[in-house]
């Protein structure tokens, strides 16, 4: 199983029937492929849609129906559309049960940096700051390292997305939560040892006596 699949499948286990969920671009989008059968989850696209469905077949797209990346999507039966003020009211107002976002860095107190690399990449924050500050639960889908460097760091060196700590970090190696503001190893991926996670992590990790394996 490749890294992105491990992450998407594990995050899908966080879904519950009836939830309103926003998925960011990239790995987060793949979570929708693993919704358990029979469960209804409402996916929001912040450009103004609840009930975002799969990518349409070639030639079947509607030019006024896209996801937050501007890519064609479908709207499922029971979908609804609305303007951007309503969309971000949903996000900030405590109506969004969960957001899944990508990350550049997560630090050991749960702070997230995911919107710019000064001097290199200044795309703008789009909806990321509202999502990271406003969603009831913030889950980060992120590869554990990039170019041999851990992305799970002691302190974020990149500009923060929000002062509010995230709730859960899922990488291809581990599930990390932040009880009491301290990064804590909750689960390891199948075939990955606690030692391997610690070796790949710059942050100080609390390791409980018993660490479960991801049930994916």
């Amino acid at each position: 199983m490749d890294a992105q699949t491990v992450i998407a499948k594990r995050i899908a286990l966080e879904l519950r029937d009836g939830m309103l969920v926003n998925l960011g671009i990239g790995i987060p989008t793949r979570v929708s492929n693993y919704v358990p059968a029979g469960m209804r989850v409402y996916f929001q696209s912040e450009n103004g849609l609840i009930g975002t469905g799969a990518v349409p077949e070639e030639g079947m797209h509607h030019r006024l129906l896209t996801d937050a990346g501007g890519k064609p999507v479908t709207a499922l039966p029971g979908a609804s559309t609305f303007d951007s003020a309503m969309s971000f009211g949903l996000i900030r107002g405590g109506h969004l049960d969960m957001t899944v976002l990508g990350g550049l860095q997560v630090d050991q107190s749960g702070h997230l940096a995911n919107w710019m690399i000064p001097g290199k990449m200044v795309p703008g924050m789009g909806g990321a700051m509202d999502l990271a500050s406003g969603a009831k639960r913030v889950v980060i889908a992120m590869q554990h390292s990039a170019k041999g460097k851990s992305k799970v760091v002691k302190t974020c060196s990149l500009p923060l997305t929000s002062a509010r700590p995230i709730d859960l970090l899922v990488s291809e190696l581990a599930v990390i939560a932040f009880p009491g503001g301290r990064a804590t190893l909750m689960e390891t991926a199948p075939g990955v040892s606690v030692q391997q996670v610690l070796a790949a992590t710059e942050a100080e990790l609390v390791v409980p006596d018993k660490v479960a394996e991801m049930a994916i």
Binding site: S45, E46, N47, G48, L49, H62, R63, L64, L65, T66, A68, G69, G70, A75, T81, F82, D83, S84, A85, S87, F88, I91, R92, M121, V122, P123, G124, M125, G126, G127, A128, M129, D130, S133, G134, P159, L160, T161, S162, A163, R164
Partner: protein, 215 residues
């Protein structure tokens, strides 16, 4: 409300004007108005919108023609031409969190001086801004935004100027239609008065100054 030709409507816009333009990655952007702005070569524009789209698409056409002096947007990541002009100092770019941007526009149209939001607290976004604490929670004071013109894309309009939108083409459009001195709406379809049910009118006719039947 008056109907005008595309050229006459855009001729109302002077160089240096501030424009709110609907659309999200060019979906729901009034391309006809954007094309005409480029054709008439309107200069030194301030553009308030969600993003600058892609190179040569939607608002990206204004960027490519170097007509934008300042952009107040939430995202420029998919338009390298915006980034290049920003880095070269040819365009000023004010990056605003998307929810804060739309709510500042909403406040501008709803007669409010600004909004309080927790988005951006503890990040670079809070630099230079007033903070207030309400019930123990910190908020940034974000001022309202208005513009000289709103360029709105509608899916459906009647001959009075009542507007309805389609799918994710709605985005910023009904909000900017409240927040500008002059509202120019370009619509894909025009129908007789009464055909849009009162319950389905999103932007009421009195808000629309000029209607162009060419999206």
């Amino acid at each position: 409300m008056r109907t005008l030709s595309l050229a006459d409507a855009v001729a109302l816009i002077p160089d240096g004007a501030s424009l709110m333009i609907g659309g999200f990655m060019a979906v729901g952007t009034p391309e006809s108005l954007v094309d005409e702005l480029v054709r008439q070569g309107k200069r030194d524009l301030t553009v308030i919108a969600n993003d600058t789209a892609l190179p040569g698409v939607g608002i990206g056409k204004l960027v490519r023609a170097r007509l934008v002096k300042k952009a107040i947007v939430s995202h420029i990541g998919l338009n390298p031409e915006t980034q290049a002009q920003m880095i070269a100092g040819e365009m000023e770019v004010d990056l605003v969190p998307q929810g804060t941007l739309i709510e500042r526009i909403r406040a501008g149209g709803f007669g409010l001086g600004g909004i309080l939001t927790a988005t951006g607290v503890g990040t670079v976004v809070e630099e230079g801004k007033q903070k207030v604490t309400i019930a123990g929670k910190e908020y940034l004071v974000e001022p309202a935004l208005r513009a000289d013109f709103a360029l709105v894309h509608a899916f459906l309009a009647d001959y009075l100027g009542n507007l309805a939108y389609a799918l994710t083409g709605r985005n910023f459009n009904p909000v900017i239609a409240m927040a500008a001195d002059t509202v120019i709406a370009a619509t894909e379809n025009v129908v007789p008065v009464g055909l849009i049910s009162p319950d389905h009118v999103i932007t009421p006719a009195p808000l629309v100054d000029y209607l162009i039947a060419q999206s």
